[in-house]
Every structure is written in C-alpha cells, then in structure tokens.
C-alpha cells in the first residue's frame, strides 16, 4: 500500500485502519480533517459544506485544492479498476497480505478479480 510505504519513507508509522474508519487520522498530519472531507464528498453527506470549510481552514487554499483533486480523481480511478476487473499487481498483493483480511478488503467484490476473495461477512 502506498500509504504505508510513503509513511515509512518519512520515518512514520501509519495506522492503516484509518482507511476503513470514519474521521480517523491514521497518524498522518491533519489526517482526520482529510478523511472526514473525503467521506463527506463520497457519501454526498449533509455535513459536506462543514467538512469542506474545515478542510479549507485547516489546510489552506493550495493543500485544499490538492485534497479535492485527490478525492475527485480517485472516484474515477476506483471505477477504472472495478469496471474492468483488473487484477491487483502481484507486488501490491504480497505487501498487503498481512492487513487485507483484518481490514475487510478480501470480502469486497473486486477481490475475486485478484483471486483472494473471502466470503462476505
């Protein structure tokens, strides 16, 4: 996972449960603001205006735009993967083998495309 690898590159240890828990910071600077912003956009949540305002206030304009861009483009990227059934890269599967089951990823529909599907919970 690029989240873990990029954190280790700067000597930090990330908490990967932030990927699956609401408003978790994962040990990343301003992480809770970022994840709450992403959640509000993806869910079209009632608190989107508040989450956006908090992100802009906390991050400042330049970082806020990058956060919005990342949220935007990943809403497209997930659909690239899931509409084509593209298998995960072998290296990525190997490097995430220790956490995928605990985080519940192997129960998602797309896991079957990579041959690691578990029955849904």
């Amino acid at each position: 996972m690029l989240l873990r690898a990029s954190s280790q590159a700067v000597g930090a240890e990330v908490d990967l449960t932030a990927a699956v828990e609401d408003a978790a910071d994962g040990g990343v600077e301003d992480g809770a603001v970022l994840t709450a912003f992403a959640e509000a956009v993806v869910r079209a949540a009632d608190d989107l205006d508040a989450a956006r305002a908090r992100a802009l206030e906390t991050l400042g304009p330049a970082k806020f735009v990058e956060a919005a861009a990342t949220v935007g483009i990943f809403n497209g990227l997930v659909r690239v993967a899931d509409s084509t059934g593209i298998p995960s890269d072998a290296m990525m599967l190997e490097r995430t083998a220790d956490v995928r089951g605990d985080l519940g990823f192997n129960r998602w529909a797309g896991a079957s495309a990579s041959g690691v599907a578990e029955a849904p919970a």
């Binding site: 996972m1 990029s6 954190s7 600077e29 935007g72 509409s83 059934g85 995960s88």
Partner: protein
C-alpha cells in the same frame, strides 16, 4: 471555456484546469467506437445516476433517457457511475456480449472521466461543469495491437508493460487512456518519475496525506484494487 479559473473559490493550478478542460472536450468528440453525441449521453446518464447514489437503484428518479443508446449501454453508464462496488464479471460479460469489449471500455472511460470531474467539483463546492456540446464526426474504430488476457474482464496491453495494472485497464481504447490519465497526472500522480518517489515535493500535500485520501476514497467505494 470549461473549468474556467473564475469558477473556483480558491486558485487552482493551471495545469490541472488545463487537463480538466482538455479531457472534458474529449468527451464531446467522436471517440474510437462511440460518436460525440453518444459519449455525451453516456456522461449524462452516469452523472444523473451518481447524483442519486444514496438512493437504492430501484427508487432513483431516472425519467426516460433522452438517448438512442443501446439498453445495455444505458445500464452500464448508470451502474459504473453510481454503483461501482456492485460490478462483477458476470454482469460485465453480459454487457460486453451485447456492446463488444472495446465499446464497453470506451464507455467506462467516459464515465470515469465524468465522475472524477464531478467529484472534484463537489469537493471544491461548485456546480458540476455543464457537459460539453457534442461534436460531429465518426469514430475511428481502431483496435490496438498487443492486447492480451491477464485475468481482467477485458483485454489489456501485454506487450512492453511494466507499470501498475490499473494504468492499462482501459488500454483497449488508447484515446480513453489519454483522456482519463491526463487528469490522473495533473490531479494525483504527476510524472512517472514523481509517482515512483515515496516522498513528494511536487504537491503541497505530503505523499502520506495524499495516499490517506486515496485509501479512504477507495475503501468507501469498496475498491479492492
């Protein structure tokens, strides 16, 4: 002009608005397998469906689609747009059996481009960009060589490939790859050299911040990849 800088509440990098503008214009042009009007119709269907993503599919207000697209194309545009976590091989094979694999891939490329731009607008707090005016012209109907089976639902490039699989997922329609991955470079990855670095200095956010957002968005969409 689409994605005009004046629409945004805060300054947006010029390379990002330029990429969005180019890719948006691409939607309105004849593609490889679909005409400009068909591509805009696909984008419109995906947008209308995704806006209602919090409603179950059976209770969404769809009205009568104002398009002559095949029924399976309408279904695919809607489902990829709004329900990506419910796509599976059996469903895709049924769609591809009617549309053909390359037409399916191009349709997906239009949907993902539309969704990414729309989600960016929502994140920025601005209205969705009006869909481009469809242009006249005929699809090129060019099928690339060097495609093969790596276990995906569609053929992908297998010759001279050393990058991540997701970057070749749409490779059956190279024009679709250019349209969408132009935005990926501007909004996320930067150059290939940038992407390989685990410490980023080409973006205001740190790489862990960017990857936390990426991981959270992926998880919310239940995207295994």
């Amino acid at each position: 002009m689409s994605f005009d800088a004046g629409r945004f509440p805060v300054p947006v990098r010029e390379d990002m608005t330029a990429a969005l503008r180019k890719s948006w214009a691409d939607i309105g042009r004849a593609g490889t397998w679909w005409t400009g009007p068909e591509r805009v119709a696909v984008a419109a269907l995906a947008r209308v469906e995704r806006v209602q993503r919090n409603e179950p599919p059976w209770s969404r207000n769809r009205g009568e689609p104002d398009t002559a697209l095949p029924e399976k194309a309408i279904e695919a545009a809607r489902k990829i747009g709004a329900d990506p976590m419910h796509l599976d091989r059996a469903w895709a094979e049924e769609i591809i059996a009617e549309l053909g694999d390359a037409r399916y891939v191009e349709l997906a490329s239009v949907v993902v481009t539309t969704v990414a731009a729309d989600a960016f607008c929502e994140a920025m707090g601005i209205e969705h960009e009006p869909l481009p005016e469809p242009e006249t012209g005929e699809p090129t109907r060019e099928r690339p060589e060097g495609m093969g089976d790596i276990g995906a639902w569609v053929p992908v490039q297998v010759v001279d490939w050393s990058r991540a699989n997701v970057a070749r997922a749409l490779s059956l329609v190279p024009a679709g790859v250019r349209t969408f991955f132009r935005m990926v470079a501007a909004m996320y990855s930067g150059t290939a050299t940038d992407f390989e670095k685990m410490v980023w200095d080409h973006r205001p956010l740190t790489r862990p911040q960017v990857e936390l957002l990426a991981a959270r968005v992926s998880a919310l969409n239940q995207c295994f990849y």
